[in-house]
């Protein structure tokens, strides 16, 4: 057991949450981060779905990594990811139909998420299954965390609510407060994301020096 949670493995899991965050540092998966963060709920669901699928596709690719012909490795990775995503969406549709309707377009988006391909290519192809699994979970959560952050800001200021519950009271609207329509637009997500990356770098890169 101690080997399972060795120092290296811990780093593999913790690094993507902060210093090697897929969105803030690797700058992967930006497109889906812009598309699904106009409200908090889809951001959470998308974050969880990506976490699960990154982890399992990492494990599968890691298991067969020595047999994959290098010239078609990207295609093999894509086939594994697409098969996994399709199976997950079919299972959701059969057992939790509401959630599958909620996810609808995002499930397809997961296949094209750069984080998956990036992690498969950069990590799972040359590491054992268990560290690959941790790497997948870590990167998925690192991605989910940023999505939730941006989703929170956009829903709160764009609609005055969180998870659909109205937070800004009616009286504030009567007093002249207006929801910021810009926040619901994808362009604002890009600006917010830029600010998050900026703050993160300004803080952590100074420490390094």
């Amino acid at each position: 057991m101690s080997k399972l949670f060795s120092k290296e493995n811990k780093e593999v899991f913790v690094n993507p949450l902060n210093l090697d965050n897929p969105i803030m540092v690797q700058v992967l998966g930006i497109c889906s981060a812009l598309a699904v963060t106009s409200q908090l709920k889809p951001a959470i669901v998308m974050g969880l779905a990506v976490t699960i699928i990154t982890a399992f596709s990492n494990v599968i690719i890691s298991l067969i990594r020595n047999t994959i012909p290098s010239r078609i490795r990207i295609i093999v990775q894509l086939v594994v990811v697409a098969a996994l995503v399709t199976i997950v969406s079919q299972i959701l549709k059969a057992f939790v139909y509401d959630v599958s309707v909620e996810l609808s377009v995002y499930v397809g988006l997961i296949i094209t998420n750069c984080i998956l391909m990036g992690r498969l290519e950069a990590f799972a192809m040359m590491n054992k299954p268990w560290p690959s699994f941790l790497d997948g979970i870590g990167n998925g959560l690192g991605y989910a965390f940023i999505l939730v952050l941006v989703g929170c800001i956009r829903e709160l200021f764009g609609r005055g609510s969180l998870l659909g519950f109205q937070l800004i009271p009616e009286s504030a609207y009567h007093a002249g407060y207006l929801n910021n329509g810009m926040m619901t637009m994808p362009a604002m997500a890009l600006i917010l994301l830029g600010c998050v990356i900026w703050l993160h770098r300004a803080y952590f890169y100074k420490e390094k020096k």
Binding site: S70, R71, I75, V76, A83, S104, G108, T184
Partner: protein, 240 residues
Amino acid sequence: MAEVKKKGLNTNSNGYTLIYSTIIVVVVAFLLAFVFKALKPLQDINVALDKKKQLLYALNIRDISDAEAAQKYKDVVLADEIIDTKGNVVDKGEQGGEKAGFVLNSADYKAGRLALFVCKVDGQTKYIVPVYGMGLWGPINGFIALDADKNTVYGAYFNHEGETAGLGAEIKDNVKWQNLFKGKKVFAEGTRKVALSVVKKVDDPSTQVDAVTGATLTSNGVSDMLIEGLSKYLVFLTSK
């Protein structure tokens, strides 16, 4: 042993690459086919129940559990008729029906086999007309419930497959917006041309609904869908 043997293979040779890709494709194909077949019956039940709920939403019957929805559908829907564009009844359907108008899809709709749900809510006759169209990213559809005068909108529900959450998806998620349709008229005063539509600037509040902010293209899709769809039912809607 197998592992050692695999390592001995030249994984970069053409033959190995071809065989490898063939095997992986066949394995994945069988796996997907199996999953799809095994889960199909369960999915069909879910899809049918979801459609019933959508029909009930159009009748402003919301916030009901799955079990209640199935029963309520049986109570409320008197017949799931199939009619043609000339207003003739092709199939009478049945009470709480799931076989006639209920199973029609957008292909039947384009071919002129139109579903018409005759319902009774609180003793009053209502008609539900399904409409199909295109949003920004994919197909959208809707159910428009009309009063017995075949002109006044009683309720509306819209659904989509891939509109953007928070923008185009509002046509489905935003109940307040759907409620804007209540009381609108299909036809403008004294005309026989479908006027019910979604516009950015409302000129005629009796037939026009304000578009969804930030979702102009999806809103246009809804508008086209309403005009095109309800026009198919023109003969039925204008016969008294």
